[in-house]
Amino acid sequence: MNAPARSVTYRTRPLPAIVPIGLFVVVGAVLAGHGFASERNIANLGLQASILLMLAMPMTLIIMSEGLDLSAGAVLSLCSVVMAMMLAGGHGLVAALAASLGVGLAFGLANGGLVSLLGLPPFVVTLGTLGIAQGAALVLTEGNAVSGLGPGISALYADHIAGIPLPVIIALATWLVTHVLLYHTRFGAYVFAIGGNRDALVLAGVRASAWHIAIYAYGGLVSGVAALLLTGRMNAAHPTVAIGMEFDAIAAVVLGGTSFERGDGRLLGTVLGVATITVLRNALDLLGIESSLQVVSIGVLILVVIMIDSARRTWRVHPA
């Protein structure tokens, strides 16, 4: 017992495999040329990554709590549709954003409530809300794109602060907020605890179910903000535009070394996962490889990273 506790700390534990593999993808993309390293493409990368980063941040917390959110893409589409309809109806940007946040929050609370209070499996719950959100978006728009939003929102999207595009700043701010939440607040500690040992949290006198709902609610709110970027990018809203985006978000989280079990996760890993997926898709675009093959390549990437991470976990010597 008095031997020095040479324990692995949070900081010193091994990096997930995404670090070398992500680097490999980036270097490969640069070397492959086709204008990948051009200034214009770099700016483009930032814009492409921003919405994915926003979805992947709360998704990390949800997966760490042994949950899943399949509805993220559909809820984002619905938020975007609601925002666009408000703008098209002559309301201001603030009112439109508030409506979008409201829709996102409502879905987040519904997801969290069903998972936490009724104990339903997150996969099934969010599959259900995915259908509801997608259906609602189609009903509201009758399946058509919503346009005629006025210049405000696209101007916002094209704005820069200190030479950095505003969408990139909003996405980075989401990262910063999520980082502070996860590592510097009670909420964050309880995310680890809900995934790792929910009973311990209850026995510590904490209302675990409320915090569990809050995790999903945060996801809904971030979708509400992300709708700003999605709508601004096209200066229109389409009811199914963001469907499938949850796939990339979940992929980024998993690539980043977050586990579906026991509350094992790290936010920086997800950021690297987002970067890797974005670079990969962008480079394959530049090489003229079609979108369906891009999905295949992301799938292969996930399996490779997971296999390496899981093999390293198995081989690691057992604790003292």
Partner: protein, 498 residues
């Protein structure tokens, strides 16, 4: 005045009286030992104290005032802290976070967690136990003993006035246990009230100022230090009546044992088995007794090939074994696990499907399932095992616990097994069915099978077995022949430190 007093507390669950009219005083500056066999109500008592259960009847007085402990948060506010036996650590949160879970110190203005202060105070909590673990370490990288010490540090850091410890030394080495005892003596001197549950007689006698014995949910006696000897305490735990009236089954027939079926020499495993020798012969029922966590299940799992063996040898029917459960099972060995619902049965399938699951190739060697012979075969088995209701199509999930167990036994019976290892075969089964299960087991050995019976019910071992081994902390500490088998002898071996 006691810091905390329970007055006539009762708690029932459907079919079970967990606590009945239990009164208990916890005084400041006193270590109060709680003794009792498995199922005596110790855990329920803790849960009532901590607000995990609410008592059906009775009152709790905190410093003389009537209180209602509805949830753990209420208990915490009254200065009650519990060191749980099941670990309550979060695997991927660092030790400082774990120690302060639910009461993280926060910055006055920003309300963010004050990491510097939290790590400083966690350091102090660990230092007070003489632990040099890094406060940034993750529990997932610590072994069981270290996790237990962190658990203790966590409870101590709450500055509890009333501290409950549920077998805190079960996972500790002697040195760690000594460090803990030093802390307990210090806390006692500081006026803390300690409720301490232990199965180790040495701790009870050395540390306890007062001892309460529970049996079947009732308080048998409360005594001051020195008022009862170890043997008297054991007699109180067992109960005088248990010898005759408590028997659920009386073995009818004892035969001469035949050839050796299982021979274990110097068995060690990573799961804690430490040099076990034992022999089971055809035609005998051999008990494996001991307290929960003594390593009994681990022995059975290692024999079955489910856990790797680090040293020693296992011989089945005279020949050494290699390989996993499939290889062992193919030699005619059955392990009937404790949690039969998860490991022994397909709950959503019929009685018939479950009965035939392990012998399909034997019944239908050409791989072609035929419904009519299967049904006939199932009916014959149901009759032999006396499964009720005797309908082959009935889902296994709707059978009673006793009948489910019969189906599990029957499954291995038709597979032609000759060595049966039962792990707590009567857990959760009503008394009538227990007798039928033992009748089945006796029938097995009469037909020449060998049986290893793991049971925490001392009376089962006494009344069913030809002889029994007793385990403590991964070792066999004694073997009792038929004429020495008594509950007192079993408990004495299981609890006494050597």
């Amino acid at each position: 005045m006691p810091l905390l007093a329970l007055r006539s507390v009762s708690k029932s669950f459907p079919g079970v009286r967990a606590l009945e009219d239990v009164s208990l005083d916890l005084h400041g500056g006193e270590v109060h030992m709680l003794l009792g066999e498995n199922g005596a109500g110790k855990s329920s008592l803790i849960k009532v104290l901590y607000g995990a259960y609410r008592a059906d009847a009775g009152t709790i007085l905190h410093e003389g005032h009537l209180v209602d402990i509805k949830r753990p948060a209420d208990a915490r506010r009254m200065g009650i802290a519990v060191i749980f036996q099941e670990f309550s650590l979060v695997p991927f949160l660092d030790l400082a976070h774990n120690i302060f879970l639910g009461r993280e110190p926060r910055h006055r203005v920003t309300r963010l967690i004050d990491h510097a202060r939290m790590h400083r105070e966690a350091r102090a909590a660990l230092d007070s136990l003489g632990l040099d673990y890094d406060t940034r370490a993750l529990p997932v990288h610590l072994g069981i003993a270290r996790q237990q010490m962190v658990e203790i540090a966590k409870a101590l850091s709450q500055n509890a006035r009333i501290l409950v410890m549920d077998e805190p030394t079960a996972a500790l080495s002697d040195r760690e246990a000594d460090a803990l005892f030093a802390v307990i003596r210090r806390l006692r001197a500081d006026g803390v009230a300690i409720l301490y549950i232990s199965h180790r007689m040495k701790e009870v006698l050395e540390l306890g100022d007062r001892v309460t014995v529970l049996r079947d949910g009732r308080r048998v006696a409360t005594m001051l230090r020195g008022e009862a000897s170890a043997n008297e305490l054991i007699a109180m735990m067992v109960g005088r009546a248990a010898g005759a009236a408590g028997a659920v089954y009386q073995r009818r027939h004892f035969g001469e044992p035949g050839a050796t079926a299982l021979e274990v020499r110097g068995l060690c495993t990573a799961s804690g088995v430490n040099g076990v020798d034992l022999v089971v012969r055809a035609g005998e029922i051999v008990g494996l007794s001991g307290l929960v966590g003594a390593g009994r299940t681990e022995v059975a799992r290692a024999v079955f090939g489910a856990d790797p063996i680090t040293a020693g040898e296992v011989k089945l029917f005279g020949a050494p074994v290699h390989g996993g459960p499939d290889r062992v099972a193919s030699r005619g060995v059955a392990l009937i696990p404790e949690n039969r619902k998860q490991e022994g049965l397909a709950l959503k399938r019929s009685t018939q499907d479950n009965l035939l699951a392990a012998s399909l190739w034997k019944q239908f060697p050409r791989g072609w399932y035929r419904a009519r012979p299967a049904r006939r075969h199932a009916r014959a088995l149901i009759e032999r095992l006396r499964v009720t209701p005797g309908e082959p199509r009935r889902l296994a999930s709707v059978l009673s616990g006793g009948n489910q167990q019969k189906v599990v036994i029957g499954k291995w019976l038709v597979a032609g097994c000759r060595l049966f290892m039962f792990d707590e075969p009567t857990r959760g089964i009503d008394i009538g069915a227990k007798g039928e299960i033992f009748a089945l087991i006796e029938d097995l050995v009469k037909r020449g099978a060998a049986v290893l019976l793991i049971s925490s019910e001392l009376s089962e071992i006494v009344h069913v077995c030809d002889r029994a081994y007793v385990m403590r902390t991964g070792r066999i500490v004694g073997e009792l022949a038929r004429h020495d088998l008594s509950e007192e002898n079993l408990l004495r071996l299981a609890m006494h430190e050597t």
